[in-house]
């Protein structure tokens, strides 16, 4: 397996940057997500304006994969409607499960496509999907 396809530049950059890693002042929704087996533990915060995700951030601890995935997801869903965000979550989860053949359908995931190869590292899939499941929980 090629490590480059997992620990790619975009993932490492998001892991380092931390620009989405902070607490929001007055969040409308706070949702905690946790991988009991490995200890990744994030808290996602959302600020809504009607049904638009106006702002989002996260705090917590975890590996580079979980941290980067959370950060990339936040960049992606900020400014989107709840419906669009949920659609993106479902597309991401389907991509991870290799349920999507049509590459064009994945384009809307933008940088999150970087996680397409995570299934080559089965032990780490749960790290990549944690934030997305947490967002789904928060919005449903």
């Amino acid at each position: 397996m090629d490590l480059d396809s997992i620990y790619s530049e975009i993932i490492m950059e998001h892991n380092r940057s931390g620009h989405n890693k902070k607490a929001l002042k007055e969040p409308d929704i706070t949702e905690r997500g946790h991988n009991p087996s490995c200890g990744d533990d994030i808290t996602l915060q959302l600020k809504l304006n009607d049904n638009i995700i106006e702002d989002a951030s996260f705090t917590g601890v975890g590996c580079a994969i979980s941290q980067a995935s959370t950060s990339i997801m936040i960049d992606l869903v900020k400014g989107k409607t709840i419906e669009d965000a949920l659609d993106l979550v479902n597309t991401f989860l389907a991509m991870i499960k290799s349920d999507i053949d049509n590459e064009e359908e994945l384009e809307k995931l933008e940088d999150a496509i970087a996680f397409q190869n995570i299934s080559n590292m089965p032990a780490r899939v749960k790290c990549a999907v944690l934030a997305w499941h947490t967002l789904k929980e928060a919005l449903l």
Partner: protein
């Protein structure tokens, strides 16, 4: 007279002959499970080819052979830990089941409201959760002995936590996270003085050092075959005869009975009282072969060999300023387990990247979340040694750590 040659031993382990991602395999996850020598693999295979039947049940040859094999394994375990009687050896599924058996069969029946159960903060979840249940159900108090800065339980802590209200003390002989060997001799002696019974989780100790349950005067002792070159799915519970005889059965069903009537039943004597249903005979056969293999090399030699590896590894690791060792950094009373954290790199990333270089380590909370909370860290990486490891494995690991750092954009 070093009798132990890891290069020669490696040849007994077919699984070590393979390449992982094109690299030599450095297997450093022995606290999780150990690999099997060809002698164990063949013993299980021979049993299945020649002697497999349901023990204790049939008059036919195969059933008799299976019974013999099962009894021989029990006798071998008895000798291995120097129990007084063979019937003090009960086969279970693993250490977890051994501990649950004691909690349910002894704890639920002999613990009363206000009694104390004392554990160490470094316990594996398998030695915490059963006691949480007993404590809740019986309104008993669950107390923990904490560790000092060098990951050890002080004599003061022992005397402070164990009181005349303490009825059960349950502690691992060796911490699966820190490698600390706890002073169980003192704990057993003091605990008995206070009127408690003492349970020792030997999962991490028995495979790596000589253990004599009579000498320790321990009341119950549990361990697993798969952490000592044997198969998964078979574990051992040693218990003092008089304690086991007074305990009700844990699981009930076939083979553990004396007479069964419509509304009640009487039970077989120990050990059968605690072995309901068809047992894991091929597991027992593999366990016996594993003990024979270990005895051939000598537990003293294995312990010495691992001490040398720990010294070598600690020396190399302490020279790298970005590595933080979680656990004792001296060699006194510690086994071949080293937990560590790496500045700014999460243990799971370390383990995944090392894996691509053929280095197998464990990362996570190691089923010891209360310890992680106590140490205020979310997770650690852990290397753990066994008789087939050598300094080459450690060198490969150290080089691997430098590569992990590079992946994360740090210099070596």
């Amino acid at each position: 007279m070093p009798k132990l040659n890891p290069h020669q031993i490696k040849e007994d382990f077919p699984i070590l002959q393979q390449k992982i991602n094109g690299n030599r395999l450095a297997y450093l996850d022995n606290s999780a499970t150990t690999l099997k020598p060809i002698q164990v693999i063949e013993a299980i295979s021979d049993y299945n080819k020649k002697s497999h039947g349901n023990p204790h049940r049939g008059a036919h040859k195969l059933s008799v052979l299976a019974t013999e094999e099962y009894d021989l394994a029990r006798k071998k375990v008895k000798e291995f830990i120097n129990a007084k009687h063979s019937e003090e050896i009960i086969f279970t599924k693993n250490t977890t089941e051994s501990l649950n058996l004691i909690a349910y069969s002894y704890g639920m029946n002999f613990i009363n409201e206000g009694d104390e159960i004392v554990l160490a903060i470094s316990e594996h979840h398998s030695n915490i959760l059963p006691w949480q249940r007993v404590a809740k159900e019986k309104k008993a108090n669950l107390k923990y002995m904490y560790l000092n800065a060098n990951s050890r339980i002080s004599e003061k802590e022992i005397k402070e936590k164990i009181t005349t209200r303490t009825k059960i003390i349950s502690i691992a002989q060796m911490s699966n996270v820190l490698g600390t060997i706890h002073p169980i001799e003192q704990i057993i002696e003091y605990g008995h003085k206070m009127g408690a019974i003492i349970i020792v989780d030997g999962a991490q100790s028995v495979p790596h050092m000589p253990v004599d349950v009579q000498d320790l005067d321990v009341d119950f002792f549990g361990f697993s075959a798969h952490k000592m070159l044997g198969p998964m799915g078979i574990g051992i519970l040693y218990g003092k005869k008089e304690l086991l005889e007074n305990m009700p059965p844990y699981l009930t069903g076939g083979d553990m009975i004396e007479y069964v009537y419509e509304q009640e039943a009487t039970f077989a004597p120990i050990p059968y009282k605690f072995e309901a249903g068809t047992q894991n005979v091929e597991g027992a056969v593999g366990l016996r072969a594993a003990i024979e293999y270990l005895e051939n090399i000598g537990l003293n030699n294995i312990q010495k060999h691992e001490e040398i590896l720990v010294e070598y590894a600690l020396d190399k690791m302490l020279k790298l300023p970005y590595i933080d060792i979680q656990g004792p950094i001296d060699l006194y009373m510690r086994g071949g387990i080293i937990s560590f954290t790496l500045e700014d790199i999460h243990p799971h990333d370390i383990a995944s990247i090392l894996d691509t270089y053929g280095i197998a380590i464990r990362a996570g909370h190691h089923c010891a979340q209360p310890l992680m909370n106590y140490l205020k860290i979310p997770a650690t990486s852990r290397i753990s040694f066994y008789l087939y490891n050598n300094t080459e494995d450690i060198d490969q690991f150290i080089e691997g750590i430098k590569k992990v750092r590079k992946w994360f954009g740090y210099g070596s």
